[in-house]
């Protein structure tokens, strides 16, 4: 009996503790969990996957990824506020930080963020494709069980499922 209960109790806990899937460039620090990670600094250092990723090159059947040149990154941070509809939890209420054309997939935030506040953040790659400026979609969390409003291709803007962290 107890043996049967163990997976029932621990599997959901393990699922909560595992990092979430994302659509977009994956955050490496802080990692994306269901509950926003609490940071140690008001000027956090954020890191994410570089573009193109090995999987992009591998799955690129039309060959456009190999023509990508001059990759940089756009980063945005919003102050979060509670969403009135509940199921989306947090809303990107105010854009507080924005950088474009970052050369590396990492950035030390240059201003002090407010203490004990939940923030949403996201990144995308900006690059040249056949001489034209192009971007990847902004990265978002794929939270299991959330509504279609949180789909990365949802018609509803702004997205509620950007990456998250909480300041100390």
């Amino acid at each position: 009996m107890i043996r049967r209960l163990v997976p029932l109790v621990f599997l959901p806990l393990a699922a909560c503790a595992a990092p979430l899937d994302v659509a977009g460039l994956r955050p490496l620090a802080p990692e994306p969990y269901r509950h926003p990670p609490k940071l140690h600094s008001l000027q956090p250092e954020l890191r994410w996957e570089s573009f193109p990723r090995p999987t992009d090159l591998k799955t690129d059947r039309s060959g456009w990824v190999s023509r990508v040149r001059h990759v940089t990154y756009d980063l945005r941070i919003w102050r979060g506020s509670r969403d009135p509809y509940g199921y989306q939890e947090v809303y990107p209420a105010e854009l507080v930080y924005s950088r474009t054309a970052l050369a590396m997939p990492e950035h030390l935030v240059e201003i002090e963020l407010a203490p004990d506040t939940q923030y949403l953040w996201s990144v995308r790659a900006r690059f040249e494709l056949d001489g034209q400026s192009r971007v990847t979609p902004w990265g978002v969390l794929l939270v299991p069980g959330h509504s279609v409003v949180d789909d990365p291709r949802s018609v509803s803007v702004p997205p509620r499922s950007y990456y998250r962290f909480v300041t100390p």
């Binding site: 059947r61 506020s81 969403d83 009135p84 990847t136 979609p137 409003v149 018609v155």
Partner: protein, 286 residues
């Protein structure tokens, strides 16, 4: 005794589910839930000179699930809320609480209906406020602000040349837009951006709910040579910070600021989708 308890729990579950449907699921509604894929590079290669046209009609304005109108509606909503809170509170006490709640629900409903009946504004006053909010909006300005913002964002983010068309240009007698004359000016594509609807949305069961701005915008990319539609999509801005109808009306600057925010976010999304975003390659499914 056990059968009675099960029956009571079943009734409570059914009631809770009904309340959840009525009260909790009244989120923003959209006609199509996902965006179509962005235009391909074959289409984008022709987007060097783009004219942007705005909608030639005032957007529909409505209050969706707004405040209760009059004592009757207030009492009905109050009764529902009273019953829901009674069940919700009692369920915290476990199965015994749920059983007890079946006896307390009528009390909660009656209490809620009294509160709802007393606190709801008269229907005429609510209607007057709705009309006042509608009057405070300038439809022409909202349409123009959006196309101007989209053109500005397009110029900043792309190498294309963007021209905002005058509101009166290229409209045929039957009101439909016709863009073939633009070919002579070297403009091969027109981006039509129309605000279809502005709404303040609340939740059905509340007596004086917090209302959020929703702005629905339709976009079409048309080839001027033959008016062929190259791309179309619909977006809905769904605001985060809600206010009651009276609060929106008391401070007109708040509503204007929220519409400005919606304009900025929607314009950027349109430019991203039409001109810039390239989706990641998708893994092949075997």
């Amino acid at each position: 005794m056990l059968t009675n308890a099960r029956s009571a729990i079943r009734r409570a579950v059914v009631l809770l589910a009904s309340v959840a449907v009525l009260a909790g699921c009244a989120g923003p509604t959209t006609t199509s839930l996902l965006l179509p894929p962005p235009p391909g590079e074959d289409i984008r290669s022709g987007l060097t000179k783009v004219a942007i046209a705005s909608g030639r009609f005032p957007p529909k304005f409505e209050i969706v699930d707004g405040p209760a109108k009059g004592a009757g509606q207030g009492a009905a909503r109050g009764a529902l809320l009273g019953a829901a809170y009674t069940i919700g509170g009692a369920s915290l006490a476990g199965p015994i609480g749920l059983v007890a709640s079946t006896f307390l629900v009528p009390v909660g409903a009656v209490g809620g209906s009294i509160v709802g009946g007393v606190t709801a504004e008269p229907a005429a006053k609510v209607e007057e406020r709705v009309a006042a909010v509608a009057r405070s909006l300038s439809p022409r300005t909202i349409q123009n602000d959006l196309v101007n913002r989209a053109a500005e964002t397009g110029r900043e983010q792309t190498s294309g040349a963007f021209t905002v068309m005058a509101a009166t240009s290229a409209v045929t007698l039957n009101g439909r837009a016709e863009y073939r004359s633009l070919v002579e000016d070297g403009i091969r594509t027109v981006l039509e951006i129309s605000v279809i609807e502005l709404a303040l949305r609340g939740r059905t069961a509340e007596i004086d709910p917090s209302l959020n701005l929703a702005m629905t915008v339709k976009t079409r990319l048309l080839r001027t040579a033959d008016d062929a539609e190259l791309y179309k999509s619909s977006l809905t801005y769904s605001g985060g910070r809600g206010r009651t109808l009276a609060e929106w009306l008391d401070d007109g600057a708040l509503l204007r600021a929220e519409i400005d925010r919606a304009t900025e976010i929607v314009a950027e999304k349109i430019v991203d989708e039409v001109f810039l975003v390239v989706p990641f390659p998708r893994p092949v499914k075997h």
